[in-house]
């Protein structure tokens, strides 16, 4: 494992982060936008674990941060799904561009 440079793992996580960001900006389907956010959070998790393993193998801080992120992402997803279902009841659609009652 030590043959793989740290920067390569970080590149993978950065790629995930930006794929997620791209999805959030370009997709109109709310479920897909939610999944893009999950992608971003996962890229952060890989970062934490990689730093933990490569630079500070003596302590477990990065690992614990990741566990908290995973659990909180689950709670957040539940709330988001509840909001999306409510929106669907009112709009009969989960397209963000059809939810446009609020305009500048």
């Amino acid at each position: 494992m030590s043959e793989i440079p740290l920067s390569h793992i970080l590149f993978v996580s950065t790629a995930l982060f930006f794929i997620g960001m791209y999805g959030m900006f370009t997709r109109r389907n709310m479920i897909t936008m939610l999944m893009s956010i999950e992608l971003m959070l996962n890229s952060v998790n890989i970062n934490f674990i990689a730093f933990n393993k490569y630079l500070f193998p003596g302590n477990l801080d990065g690992l614990f941060f990741t566990i908290f992120i995973i659990t909180i992402a689950a709670a957040e997803a539940a709330v988001a799904i509840a909001i999306i279902i409510n929106l669907y009841r009112n709009h009969k659609s989960i397209d963000v561009e059809e939810a446009d009652a609020l305009k500048h």
Partner: protein
């Protein structure tokens, strides 16, 4: 050996993540997402975090993604939606994201200069060690995250239950 595994996994991760974003049908997105999560769990195992890999698969693939699939099924949302917003939003996203990406990649190039600590303890990602630290050092965050779950639970049930249906 693990080197090849890492590069194959990375390719698969990137590919499936892109398919999540580009698939037109939400169900395909969810399935690719589950695949993506499994490859990420593979990364965790390579990084010597076995417990985390298990938690990740259970929570993400087992709970969150099943929830998504369930919602898509229940609301019958698997319509092929026109997947893109206006071109302006797209170009803006690509340009700003690309700039930030370039900055980050150049930042990460310097990461190889950081002092890499070669100490290796195969037990460190195991449950016993984790439990000890979680209930000693991380006791308060653990309790506070319980507060967060309570909030999320009340919130989700409040949004979910029928208006005026639950009153006495």
């Amino acid at each position: 050996m693990s080197q090849y595994l890492f590069y194959i996994l990375s390719l698969l991760t990137a590919f499936s993540a892109m398919m999540v974003v580009f698939s037109r049908k939400p169900v395909y997105s969810v399935l690719y997402m589950i695949f993506c999560f499994f490859t990420i769990a593979g990364h965790y195992i390579l990084l010597n975090a076995q417990f985390l890999a298990a938690v990740h698969v259970i929570v993400y693939s087992g709970a969150i993604m099943v929830l998504f699939l369930y919602v898509i099924m229940m609301l019958n949302l698997n319509k092929e939606s026109e997947p893109h917003k206006s071109n302006i939003a797209k170009t803006a996203a690509v340009v700003s994201g690309g700039l930030l990406l370039m900055v980050l990649v150049s930042v990460f190039k310097s990461a190889d200069g950081l002092a890499i600590n070669p100490a290796f303890d195969s037990q460190i990602g195991m449950v016993e060690v984790l439990g000890m630290v979680l209930y000693e050092k991380y006791l308060l965050p653990f309790e506070v995250s319980a507060l967060l779950f309570l909030t999320a639970m009340i919130g989700a049930t409040m949004l979910g239950k029928k208006e005026g249906g639950a009153q006495s």
